[in-house]
Amino acid sequence: MEEHKGILHKVSRMYVDNPQDREDLQQEIIVQLWKSYSKYKGEAAFSTWMYRVAINTAITYFKKDKRRSDRYTYDTASEPEHEQYDTEKERQLELFYLAVQNLNRIEKALIFYFMEGLSHRDTGIQLGISEGNVRVKLNRTKEKLQNIIKEIDHES
């Protein structure tokens, strides 16, 4: 798990915008990974199995507290955590994470798997939908994300 803790970092960053809730989600995923470990048969790579538990937990983890939403509009979004960026890529990544907050839970999962480099087929297996459906949904989601990014970039 230690080796793949980047998955926890990325999933929680995509699904939750504030650090406190992010920590909560990370801990919840860890608990669910421990609980589910007996189910891991070693048929797939550990990272593939971990993707599934992490994404399934993040998608179904609704908090009762309405004051903290998993989605927020970029109109009210706070400034990214780092004000100075070492590189243009880092700035873009901050912008990307900010824009992702406006996607729904399934769209976030699609983008996560895309960024991790999973094929349409493997993403379909993870989500339980067809490869063709992944292709269409992913293209639409990428288009939506690009529009959000443009809008945020334009406003800042």
Partner: protein, 205 residues
């Protein structure tokens, strides 16, 4: 922004603030709604066992007239059988391993239908208790009347009607209360899950 080109930054993003406990005892209690539902059900199961034991000796504790014992224990036996059935169902649900290792659609389906099923279980079990509560109310009232040298034949018809109306209103309120309780505590979550599930099922081809 070119997302394909961003992948290198995505993979190189430094991991901040991820603390993995080294021992299982350092893990916190699961906060997932499904885990919370299971914990609630476990606690309610213990309360139910206590209530069933208490109900077995209630006639003696509340000085119910011995002539009503047959009626009381007949209805109690029915409640006991139903309780055993429900407790066993709850136990099986609680023990059923519900992990998050299946694909996302199956996982959402499972959580959604488990919640719906358990909401219905709450409803039906609550509704089944109403007749027993009515029997108890009548037996208890009748025993108090006997103590005062009265019986059902001495009550005026108007009082009987008032009693019946009161019982009907009370039963309706209990029914509404049970439904409102599940709606408040569980329905918001099932609605959220259903929205995500519908989004995933939506065919875009």
């Amino acid at each position: 922004m070119n997302l394909d080109e961003l992948k290198s930054a995505w993979h190189a993003d430094p991991i901040q603030g991820v603390h993995i406990p080294t021992h299982i005892k350092h893990l916190r209690q699961a906060q997932h709604p499904l885990d919370k539902l299971k914990r609630n059900m476990k606690n309610e199961g213990y309360m139910q066992i206590t209530a069933v034991i208490f109900m077995a000796i209630a006639p003696q504790l509340f000085s119910v007239h011995p002539s009503t014992y047959t009626l009381y224990y007949t209805s109690y036996t029915m409640v006991l059988i139903i309780s055993i059935y429900y407790l066993n169902t709850f136990r099986r649900f609680y023990q059923r391993v519900s992990h998050y290792t299946t694909d996302t659609k199956e996982n959402l389906n499972e959580i959604y239908y488990e919640f719906k099923l358990n909401i219905e279980r709450y409803h039906s079990f609550g509704f089944l208790l109403i007749p027993f509560v009515l029997v108890w109310t009548i037996i208890y009232s009748y025993s108090r009347m006997l103590e005062q040298g009265e019986d059902l034949s001495t009550i005026p018809d108007s009082a009987k009607q008032s009693l019946l109306i009161t019982l009907l209103i009370a039963s309706s309120l209990v029914t509404i209360g049970i439904i409102a309780w599940t709606r408040y505590f569980y329905s918001p979550y099932t609605k959220q899950i259903k929205l995500v599930l519908d989004e995933l099922k939506k065919e875009e081809l």
